[in-house]
């Protein structure tokens, strides 16, 4: 069915909407009732009739479908196709040749998606859910821009912006019968700054002008309420069984307390997340291009909530981060990492069904993870396929343990795999993984950190982070590991690079006198050519920290050998550190040496100046 057959025009709902929001108001501002808590409470009562004003767990805005479907946009040798895959039976239900642009939305018996079509702004396509057969398609002319659509049952809600000259652009919300494509009602929105809608439980919500969410009756188009987000842009709306949500950097559960969206409202949630995570709770509905399958589907936060007394909490206290090949579970309050899962291939789409994390990879692997443990509970494959994007319709679905099920991932192994991964796209994530690794207890972690430091494939920032973690953990049970690392001197013959002496010295120093046995292995690096001035400075400091008075000989040698070296003339830090160490660890003869060094005219000027002061300051004590 073509777009021409769709009945157009403003329905009665639009008129009644204006009336409902007040005749006085419409003469001044269309947002006069924005933030009205009573209006919003009325909507919530419609969504949750049994629990409108009582404490309860989540009711539904759109009830569980009892389905276990994935709609996959495929590419590759067989051409562009859309297919339906049954996750419960692991089989392909149907496949239709088509190019999919905007994401698939799933209704009761219909799916809708975008495709390029032949018109400038593409077209919207409806298909039979069970067969994929084309039901109708609606092209968009150059004057009409699709912002998004949502299905509630088989009611389709579409937001567009129309720009017919010479009129100003207008925002339109239209309701269609998704099976036939016939228009049920249409309202002109109060602004042309529109966003993609969400629908469920008989209502439809549309973000407007970044700070409003307008709520309409899905059946009649009657305006029911207006939310005013006062502290945070409302860039998305999302209908879940738990309720209707809006937000951007956080999540507001629609309710009386969030009618004027404030972060202080009980209905507001924002998870604590590590720095590497882009806290994207949904895509930006104001940007039509984000309605297409894209990298946004591969880098997002997966979240579900439970609601108690109108107050939402992240389910099980967890949020999940899908970052291309990796999935993480974080404690939403503390940002503590619970588990990490690494897929060999980029996951192009994922969803939290409430009982499982489902994903599909670009290479055609479908998988399910246990939200509590990260264990892979199920796996299936579409051999030879290239998956561009996917939409899941599997609310509440968790595949029974079956092929490909595996034990929960070992956190240490998962973090190690992330750190060692040659993929260069995730520097921030690798830093996070190193930090998390460093927080784990055990000698094997210390060994792993040393290994990271020694790898020539580790990025400089990652080396720095691994070093910080190694120093901070003060692992007295791993002194032998530090010793062994220090003993692995650089050797061209054996293709062995110099050990990370600077960091190792700091780690040894942080242990204090407990690490005194390491002194000989530390001091030997003062006499090696590859030891950098920075490393020499750390060695000198570490020798002081561990109280290695037996190492004064090495300090003397270092100081005399380089005191007149031009390199140290420019930056005498290492010489100063060695001199300080001699002052602290040495005796009278060492002070005499220092006095000679301070007076000898070829000594680096910075060192001479420092020694002049230091010897004076410590003269009394020396007496």
């Amino acid at each position: 069915m073509s777009g021409a057959r769709i009945r157009r025009g403003i329905g009665r709902g639009g008129l009644s909407a204006a009336l409902a929001l007040g005749a006085v108001a419409c003469a001044t501002s269309p947002f006069q009732r924005a933030g009205n808590a009573d209006d919003v409470a009325g909507v919530v009562a419609r969504l949750h009739p049994s629990a409108a004003s009582t404490a309860s767990t989540a009711s539904t805005a759109s009830t569980a479908s009892n389905r276990s479907l994935a709609f996959l946009a495929l590419a590759g040798a067989a051409g562009a196709r859309l297919c339906e895959y049954d996750l419960a039976t692991s089989h392909l239900v149907w496949s239709q040749p088509t190019d999919v642009t905007t994401r698939v939305a799933v209704g009761a018996s219909v799916i809708v998606h975008g495709s390029k079509g032949t018109t400038p702004n593409g077209q919207m396509v409806a298909r039979e859910l069970g067969t994929g057969a084309l039901l109708w398609q609606r092209p968009f002319p150059s004057s009409e821009h699709l912002y998004g659509y949502a299905l509630d049952g088989d009611a389709l809600f579409v937001v567009t912006r129309e720009a017919t000259k010479p009129q100003k652009p207008t925002g339109q919300l239209a309701a269609y019968d998704a099976r036939t494509g016939l228009l049920r009602w249409q309202v002109t929105l109060p602004s042309a700054r529109v966003a993609a809608p969400a629908a469920g439980g008989g209502i439809v919500a549309v973000p407007l002008e970044s700070q409003y969410v307008l709520i309409y009756d899905g059946t009649t188009g009657m305006a029911l309420a207006q939310v005013l987000s006062t502290e945070e842009a409302a860039t998305f709306v999302r209908a879940l069984p738990e309720g209707l949500f809006y937000g951007s950097r956080g999540v507001f559960l629609l309710g009386r307390d969030t009618a004027r969206g404030s972060r202080h409202a009980p209905g507001y949630l924002a998870a604590q997340l590590p720095a590497f995570v882009r806290p994207t709770y949904d895509y930006d509905h104001y940007r039509p291009e984000q309605a297409e399958y894209s990298a946004l589907d591969r880098n997002r936060v997966l979240w579900r909530v439970t609601v108690d007394g109108g107050k939402p909490q992240f389910r099980d206290g967890l949020v999940f981060v899908h970052d291309y090949r990796f999935f993480f579970a974080f404690d939403a309050t503390s940002a503590a990492l619970r588990w990490a899962y690494a897929s060999p291939d980029d996951a192009v789409a994922s969803t939290d069904t409430g009982r499982a994390i489902l994903f599909v990879t670009a290479g055609g692997e479908l998988g399910a993870l246990d939200p509590l443990t990260g264990a892979r509970t199920w796996r299936a494959e579409l051999p030879g396929e290239v998956v561009r994007g996917a939409t899941f319709d599997a609310e509440g679905f968790a595949p029974p343990a079956g092929p490909g099920a595996s034990a929960p991932p070992d956190l240490l192994s998962a973090l190690t795999a992330i750190i060692a991964d040659p993929d260069q796209r995730f520097p921030a994530m690798k830093l996070f993984a190193i930090e998390e690794l460093g927080r784990q207890p055990g000698r094997e972690v210390t060994a792993k950190l040393i290994e990271i430091l020694q790898s020539d494939r580790t990025a400089p920032l990652a080396v720095q982070k691994a070093g910080e973690m190694l120093v901070a953990r003060r692992d007295a049970g791993a002194i032998d590991l530090l010793t062994a690392a220090l003993r692995a001197h650089a050797d061209y013959t054996e293709k062995r690079p110099a050990p990370p002496v600077e960091v190792l010295a700091r780690a040894v120093g942080a242990l204090g006198p407990l690490a005194r046995s390491v002194a000989p292995d530390l001091e030997v690096h003062l006499r090696l050519p590859e030891t950098s001035p920075a490393a020499a400075a750390e060695i000198a400091r570490a020798l002081v920290q561990i109280g290695a008075s037996e190492s004064v000989g090495a300090l003397r040698d270092f100081l005399t050998m380089y005191r007149a070296d031009t390199v140290y003339d420019r930056d005498p830090t290492a010489l100063v550190a060695a001199a300080e160490a001699l002052l602290k660890l040495g005796g009278t003869s060492d002070r005499e040496l220092l006095l000679f060094v301070s007076e000898e005219p070829h000594t680096a000027a910075g060192l001479r100046a420092h020694l002049g002061r230091a010897l004076g300051e410590t003269a009394t004590a020396a007496k």
Binding site: D491, T493, R556, L559, T560, M561, F596, R613, L615
Partner: protein
């Protein structure tokens, strides 16, 4: 431990506590000392073109040179080091080693090391612990040039205590330092170093080719030949060319090795054959010489 030379050891504790910063009078003293040192160095140098110095140095001359070495005048210090090195006197080493122990500018260090090398070559360098310690320390200096010079001196000391330092530097990052270490080890027939030298050769390290040839056992030669194609032919030719020159190699084996060289490409292989022929006295007629000449002729014909 090396540090602890005479220069600083004479500083008194009273001086230290009384003057945390160098006093004006102290500076004046140094200027006077430096002038005296420069004068002494000039006197010690003697006339240009003078015959090689005797193997002993008069005490006053030695003291003058010592003062010049530590004086403010860099040129005089370097000149003094040269004079000490050329003296051939066993007493000349001490002030030079003191320079190492006290530390100095790069130019003075290099001059001191070069002088010590000369003394070593003249067998005037004693294998005392202080000297070995100082040279071992400088074999680990950050500047490759200093390390290379220190190794050269160590190589002249006929004492097993220098071997660890030489062996360590076979793994040096600088090729000229590795080459110096390898040469020193080869000269003292340190056979234990051969496997590491072979590893270096396998990495294409040209500097170890000749030293390895001096240490290689017959069973190592086929392995050297097998490196053909994996490293530069010239390096293989260099190693094999040096090997065939050894007097202890059976002539039959020489022929095999020469034929291997003959199959290698490039001027280095031709040179190796030519040098081999040249290394044999004209009157001596051995099969390997004929074979080498034949291979040279064949290469000439094919070119």
């Amino acid at each position: 431990m090396v540090a602890g030379g005479a220069a600083w050891a004479t500083v008194s504790h009273a001086q230290e506590t009384a003057a945390p910063a160098p006093a004006a009078s102290s500076k004046q003293d140094k200027k006077a000392k430096a002038a005296k040192a420069a004068k002494a160095a000039k006197a010690a140098k003697g006339a240009p073109g003078a015959p090689a110095p005797a193997a002993s140095l008069p005490a006053d001359k030695l003291e003058g040179l010592r003062l010049a070495l530590v004086g403010a005048d860099d040129a005089a210090a370097i000149e003094a080091a040269g004079t000490l090195g050329a003296s051939g006197s066993t007493a000349a080493a001490e002030p030079l080693v003191e320079i190492l122990a006290d530390g100095a500018t790069a130019a003075r260090l290099q001059a001191a090391l070069d002088a010590l090398a000369k003394l070593g070559e003249a067998h005037a360098l004693r294998a005392d612990q202080t000297t070995i310690d100082a040279l071992t320390l400088y074999a680990g200096h950050r500047a490759p040039d200093v390390r290379r010079r220190a190794l050269k001196v160590l190589g002249t000391i006929n004492d097993p205590r220098v071997i660890p330092a030489l062996s360590d530097r076979l793994g040096d990052a600088a090729s000229d330092v590795r080459a110096a270490a390898a040469a020193s080890l080869a000269e003292r027939h340190e056979a234990k170093a051969a496997p590491r030298m072979f590893a270096l050769l396998a990495r294409g390290d040209a500097g170890v080719a000749a030293p390895l040839a001096l240490l290689a056992t017959p069973d190592m030669i086929p392995r050297v030949a097998e490196l053909t194609g994996t490293i530069d032919d010239g390096i293989v030719a260099d190693a094999l060319g040096e090997y065939v020159k050894r007097a202890d190699v059976p002539d039959k084996l020489r022929i095999d090795v020469l034929r291997t060289i003959g199959r290698l490409s490039g001027a280095v292989a031709t040179t190796a054959l030519v040098e081999y022929v040249a290394s044999i006295p004209a009157k001596e007629d051995r099969p390997s010489k004929k074979e080498a000449q034949k291979l040279i002729d064949a290469r000439g014909a094919s070119e």
